[in-house]
């Protein structure tokens, strides 16, 4: 084995064939409205924690849909549960409740 000073980097593409969506499916069972997200970004735009911590409900939902569990956990830990995102969601998703449900599932994990 030789060190050439550069490496084969893994593909950055999302491969849906082996994305682990088990957590997303569990969330869907208790919070079916999560699927209604249209990624408009209102929740993230209004989030008081977002601009300091990177918290974004939109991204949390997307990451769950792409099987990226770790990123979600990190973001959710920054939520202050103020509920502003719930107020602005045009699809009527109870995002505050959703966040709590996801946290609960993480604890069970």
């Amino acid at each position: 084995m030789i060190d050439f000073g550069f490496k084969i980097s893994p593909s950055s593409a999302i491969n849906m064939d082996n994305a682990d969506l088990s957590l997303y499916e569990k969330v869907r069972e208790i919070e079916p409205d999560i699927s209604k997200c249209i990624a408009c970004g209102s929740c993230s735009a209004t989030c008081p924690a977002g601009r300091f911590s990177g918290m974004s409900v939109r991204k949390c939902i997307l990451d769950l849909q792409r099987g990226k569990k770790n990123e979600v956990k990190k973001m959710l830990s920054c939520c202050m549960l103020c509920g502003k995102c719930t107020m602005v969601c045009p699809r009527g998703i109870n995002t505050r409740h959703l966040i709590l449900s996801i946290c609960k599932l993480y604890k069970e994990d």
Partner: protein
Amino acid sequence: MIYQGKQKIWADYQKEIPDDRWYYVRSCIRQNFFPGAEKMFMEICRNVLKKDFYESASHTTCGGIAYHCDTIPQETVMTIVARQFALMTEAGYENYVASCITSFGNYIEILETWNEFPELEAKIREMLWKACRREFNKPKYVAHASDLIYKYRNLIAERAKYRLINKNTGEPLKVVEHIGCHYSKMFPSKGVGGAEYPYVLCGMVEAWGGNVIDYPERRHCCGYGFRQYHIKANRGYSISNTHKKFESMEPYHPDMIITNCPGCPYFMDRWQYAIAEMEGKTYGENGYGIPVFTYEEVAGLVLGYDPWDLGLQLHQVAVEPLLDKMGIEYDPKRKYEGLNHKDLLKPELPGVLRCC
């Protein structure tokens, strides 16, 4: 895969390729990478098929590498190309054939640009005159050298000593074809078969008895891509692309790869060694790699030329397993013997990739 569907697309992208009287220009790098390839092209066209192919020692680079690396302005590239056309005009030819894919793309792009912006062409004519007192006619036809071998594929098949068939099983060899990006991605109508399903190499493989493999990453870049490789820090990007292709073709167990670009065969050949060293992985049978060839080398093999006269000893991946499959006779002792019969010395063998 619906073969007739591909045939329908191929029929839509047929370009006119005159049969004879061509002005040939070489590639900057191919003679170092695959020294037998261009020699074989001239040998086949001139001596086997008795066609009129002219070349001039005065021609230079087309400027394509510098252009794609963003180191010279477009007007400079155009003036270099204008000089090449002037040499063709002075030699009395109208058909221009390039050995290099990037040159071919470069010529097509420049001619198309001049069509759109005639004032630019006038400016380049003036610059060429000021620089070296030359004038030029635009070529009537521009082809890539693989277009010619494609055109002559059946003539070559008629004279073939070997076919792309596994002599032990009688089965056609499984051949991966790889087309250089600049062949038809910029101008699909200028390539035989278009850009999504190019036919130029498929046609040769079919005419010489092989089976073409169509694998998911067939259209993906070989990993060269000029800037990506020339900057050392980016080489990981280059090899990752090559790795992606090999991972994708692996399940098909290809016997060989045929290419029509200067960079592609080089990178697909050499990176197999680097991947083997990095990942411990090889893609051919019994620890060997998958041999990679230029189309001229394959034509040469089919016509029965000696593998060592084709320069196949300069490949990283050993070609012997393929030669054995095709039943091609060769003398292992001659592999590292120079043209003057002096011993060129055997290169050090790699640790992981099996070589002969």
